[in-house]
Amino acid sequence: MPTDVSALQLVLTADPALIAIVRLSLIVSLSAVLLAALVGVPFGAFLALVRFPGREAVIVVLNALMGLPPVVVGLLVYLLLSRAGPLGSWGLLFTPQAMIVAQTVLIAPIIAALTRQTVEDLWTEYSDELDAMDVGPFGRITTLIWDGRFSLVTALLAGFGRAAAEVGAVLIVGGNIDGFTRVMTTAIALETSKGDLPLAIGLGLVLIALVVTVNAAAWGLRRAGERFAG
């Protein structure tokens, strides 16, 4: 049977091994996006609105961290979580939780940097009104995050795209253990090296479909939100 037909069969018949891998991939990447958003969005907004010594340097570093190599993040998180590392007692290495931590570290700078830009742009539009209404610093941050929510979806999508597509970090801290820490990208790398192309291609198709679906859903959400909230 041709390779591409076998791949399609795996997808269409909802092969249990493939489903398990897809499920874990989604859990890890979406959890990482959620955690990174909880940290990155408020931090980005804070950076956009609060002036302090060294702010420019922080922005430069943050922007630079957007291009952080996944393997370096994987190595750092590995060193932190390894038995001899400062967080070794938590026993997280080679677990899905460690993969979530690594992906969170990887994408938090992306979400924070894009949030900073969005909020800073919005602030130039809103500053007079909010000043005139005597809105305090906390109120400004929450208002700008809320009013910039549709643009911030793009930041979250960028984070999700990066998390779902990376292989280096999750491979190092997850170990690619079958049935436990194997996700789509690590499985694709492994199956390709083993020569099992149908599974690799099937996973590739699912990965692409997932990224497209998530982006389409976010796009639809954004358009609907703009229509109803202005």
């Binding site: 007079d128 005139a132 109120g139 929510r149 909230a229 202005g230």
Partner: protein
């Protein structure tokens, strides 16, 4: 019993303002007390907007001083401003007003009812749930007025509130301004529309090239202007 705090009169003493090395206001001295609307008139770039920002406390003079009710430092609790191009928050019309009510410290339980009342005051009944950014220019100006009134200000500052609006929208805004002024709120507004100044002003301040050319009662200004510039402006000539 302590007298209620008031921001009136607002007094500017020899106030100058500059930005980027350009003098925008030059030794302006004025006083705004309770009473009929004061209208700042003058051509574009005369310094009217900067004057309103100083009155609001959004800008600080580089020389001279501004006092509100005799105080140099006065929180803007009793003042509200509507900008020439107000920014609508991304929520419904009523949501915008509720936001302003919350910022003004109005308890949550009273906000919904107050928002409906304010919408009615500015003629936006029926549009409460419409996204603010989807309203027309005139409706957005009225919403901005309602949002400013949410503060229950003593002084309402309006920066060219009818600029680029059609006659019907202009009339709707002017009607609200009359209602607001009749309720005892001191209105200080800018315009370069002489007709609007005649229709609304109790006092007139003619500003040109950052200086106050003439100020006083609107009747005196239009019937017997004291300066050549005022005479020309009142006659509808262009001041350049």
């Amino acid at each position: 019993m302590r007298a209620p705090v008031t921001d009136l009169p607002i007094v500017l003493e020899e106030v100058s303002f500059a930005s980027g090395g350009v003098t925008i206001l030059d030794r302006v001295s004025l006083a705004f007390a309770a009473g009929a609307p004061a209208v700042l008139i003058g051509p574009n770039g005369a310094g009217k907007t900067t004057l309103l920002r100083l009155l609001m406390g959004l800008a600080a003079p580089v020389r001279g001083r501004v006092t509100w009710g005799g105080r140099e430092q006065a929180a803007s609790t009793h003042r509200a401003i509507v900008f020439q191009r107000p920014t609508m928050l991304r929520r419904s019309a009523a949501g915008n007003i509720r936001y302003a009510l919350a910022a003004a410290g109005v308890p949550r339980a009273r906000r919904a009812a107050s928002a409906v009342e304010l919408c009615a005051l500015v003629g936006l009944t029926g549009l409460e749930r419409r996204p603010a950014r989807k309203l027309s220019g005139g409706e957005q100006q009225r919403l901005a007025l309602a949002r400013a009134l949410a503060k229950e200000p003593q002084i309402l500052l309006l920066d060219e509130p009818t600029a680029s609006l059609d006659p019907a929208a202009t009339k709707a805004i002017e009607d609200v301004i009359r209602k607001v002024a009749a309720s005892g709120i001191k209105v200080v507004m800018s315009t370069h529309d002489l007709g609007e100044a005649k229709r609304l002003a109790g006092e007139i301040v003619l500003v040109h090239r950052g200086r106050v050319i003439e100020s006083g009662s609107a009747d005196a200004f239009f019937s017997a202007p004291k300066t050549e510039e005022a005479r020309r402006f009142a006659a509808g000539e262009l001041l350049v």
